[in-house]
Subunit: 219 residues, 2 copies
């Protein structure tokens, strides 16, 4: 097992790489709240350790080894999140920060045991996929932001953006949960907010919030 710092770099790279698998050093610095110079330093070390590909002034990307290490970290993180949510009963806006630390300090045995307790789940409390022991990532039907749903449609929540705790607490408060069904009654053209019905209650949801909720057409 690598140290916490190394793990944080790998997981930031993994989560923020573009479609081509590349990331700017800039973005890493941003996400970790450190200077660019520190990133350059560390990136050299990670490269020497064979975890990333790096050519100065060009790009940064994960090697095979770095990628599978990062995938294992994401796995740990999401299993912790689901465990805290489902077994311990923490609300979904609190599990991420907790998991951010716990992911670095549980043995594989404990992670696997929790996975078993949770019955080998495919998705975390925010709807993000959990890689299995072999690094396989569950696929999911296409989903799109709630803002793209048509008036009159009934959709079901598949995933929510887990990067803003206030947002999570907010929609949870409105009664929106993973797998909730939402009936789109009206879209206010002025500001893009939506009038929806969910769990028998009708309320308005802002465009900003709706854009962070991902849904599929309800069958």
């Amino acid at each position: 097992m690598k140290n916490v710092s190394t793990e944080d770099y790998l997981s930031v790279i993994y989560k923020n790489q573009n479609e081509a698998g590349e990331i700017k050093s800039n973005l890493i610095a941003d996400k970790l709240s450190i200077s660019n110079a520190a990133v350059t330093d560390m990136v050299k070390k990670l490269s020497k350790e064979g975890l990333i590909n790096y050519t100065p002034y060009k790009g940064i990307s994960l090697t095979q080894e770095g990628d599978s290490y990062a995938k294992a970290l994401v796995r740990r993180h999401r299993i912790w999140e689901l465990f805290l949510f489902q077994i311990v009963g923490l609300p979904w806006e609190k599990v991420h920060d907790e998991a951010e630390k716990l992911e670095h300090c549980a043995s594989d045995e404990l992670i696997n045991r929790m996975e078993e307790m949770l019955n080998f789940p495919e998705f975390d409390p925010h709807g993000d996929p959990i890689p299995d022991k072999n690094g396989r990532i569950p696929k999911r039907p296409n989903h799109f932001p709630l803002t793209k749903a048509d008036v009159g449609a009934i959709v079901s929540v598949q995933r929510v953006n887990d990067s803003d705790n206030q947002f999570l607490a907010h929609i949870s408060n409105l009664g929106i949960d993973l797998r909730s069904e939402i009936f789109v009654k009206e879209v206010i053209s002025y500001d893009g907010s939506m009038v929806v019905e969910c769990n028998g209650r009708t309320f308005t949801i802002s465009q900003k919030a709706a854009s962070n909720i991902f849904v599929e057409k309800a069958g």
Copy 2:
């Protein structure tokens, strides 16, 4: 919350202080597997931070503040241990090492939630007391090593030494658990080993093992 290193020092001091509340720098170095020089360094810092009392060449002891911080750490550690044992189902020889890391990275909220799930327990899986939120430590009836039990006596296990995982796995294998009742049938004077009955099975237990099992007379 202090950093991991500081926490490790405090908890080693707490757990290894003598009756007068003092500890040799020697012992700290030993327990943390680092040099004496490193301990001297750190001990100065902790002293400056008001967590320990320190006079060069004399003694090291916890201040009020250091003591209550250490107590909170022990609380975290033991709640984690019991949680892993009872809720997650890890065997008692595995919970200590896991808790050793987890104790540094769960929020108070999570610890308190686990405590609640466990119904405000008083003792960890090895029979060690769990300080409550206010630092109060549950008292327990007198207990003594199994080696001191008389032939013919029936005793119940109150606590086991949690510092050796092999020992824990061994006695667990023999069927000895916390609160097990043990009937002392015979003591072999040659090597001090004991023939005992526990859960209907009769077997021999070495003096070494028996000396790490603490019991009280069964009522």
